[in-house]
Symmetry: C2
Subunit: 229 residues, 2 copies
């Protein structure tokens, strides 16, 4: 039986969170037809992102009931609002019961947390939101990606590419992972080098992140209180 | 006046080619409102990609006539077919006349070539198609990205992220580029390291690339002959 790798779409995401690992796992599915990729959403309508691009899912939640893997992308304020999106959380909770891989990119891990899937696990997320993971019972871990049982969480945005290549290696071996990496010419050369964490201004973004959280969950005071006190 | 950074959408692209630099330049526009980002296409309808995801432009070609920058993503067979897409080439040709930056990711540079914009320039593209650049009068250059006059071309797929960060640095300075890099947590850690070009099997993909070209341009024998003889 074909194993479905399901990307979860909801309004307002950061599209690179989804498209990075989608491109990697679509290449896997092209090489190894025991895998197929789907993009699942509540309806098949175009959804806005935090860029001017709109994205359209390939399948509804109802059409994909037992994926082999699910991967939840993140974003900014709309993702924080999605912590109270019950149809989304409900599909994730149900799919996670039978999935071998329960994955996320960036603040997508907070949605896994809201679905009750982080309790007792190690996890990561975008650096600006990492301490929130503890509110969901997880141990925040500052790694590019973190495996903990079925859970596979990546750091912010671009980290989904690294996580997905690791997943390809795990599912189909090193040679296939190298072939996928070659297809997408992933030989990164950040013009200014990697991030210099020691000199970066992390505090002003973290303040901004807290303000986004308060705004996103203004109509859900109990959840907001749980995450901020 | 606001400077528009226009991403060009057409059927069947590799979505990471577009979404990588789109995410980077959308962050620039958020930090520096003298820039805005648009995704332009012939119509505002969802377009398929080489994954199950569909993408919807934010503007039609008619709505964006004098962008400050245009960036053309690439892909596989549908991109090669687009070398004969006259409405697309015509918009690109006209926009390029006044644009400060004429950019591409991956095989998007071949589309710039088909529009007559590579003649006498240094350029790059996905490694599997690099020698085709010479057919358009360009000097193929094996770099992560290449600047040559207004032309800014990136290597395959993921290289668009590096190119876009370079462009942010050029347009808005090093500090803004570092902030964008921090937002998207671009601190790459490919699980198997960078690409080992010396041991990679490049030849079988190149054969496949030639077969794609022949199939994509079957109805355009003159163009096909120009690119293959």
């Amino acid at each position: 039986m074909t194993k479905t790798l399901a990307f979860v779409l909801y309004p307002g995401i950061t599209p690179l969170d989804l498209v990075g690992p989608l491109q990697v796992l679509s290449a896997l599915a092209q090489i190894d037809p025991t895998f197929e990729v789907a993009v699942v959403g509540q309806n098949l309508v175009p959804l806005g992102t935090d860029t001017p691009l709109k994205l359209v899912p390939s399948h509804t939640f109802d059409q994909v009931t037992e994926p082999f893997a699910l991967i939840v992308p993140g974003g900014t304020e709309p993702t924080l609002a999605a912590l109270a999106n019950e149809p989304l959380l409900s599909w994730i909770r149900k799919a996670a019961q039978t999935a071998d891989v329960v994955g996320s990119v960036c603040t997508g891990s907070l949605i896994l947390g809201a679905a009750g899937l982080l309790d007792g696990r190690q996890a990561t997320t975008h650096w600006g939101f990492r301490d929130l993971l503890a509110k969901f019972g997880a141990t925040p871990t500052a790694e590019r990606w973190v495996e903990s049982g079925p859970l596979l969480t990546a750091a912010g945005v671009s980290a989904g590419i690294d996580m997905a290549l690791h997943l390809v290696e795990r599912l189909a071996g090193e040679q296939t992972a190298r072939t996928v990496q070659l297809f997408i010419e992933y030989d990164p050369q950040p013009p200014l080098g990697g991030i210099d964490w020691s000199s970066a201004d992390l505090d002003s973004f973290k303040l901004h992140a807290r303000a986004m959280l308060a705004s996103a969950l203004a109509d859900h005071p109990a959840l907001l209180a749980r995450l901020t006190t």
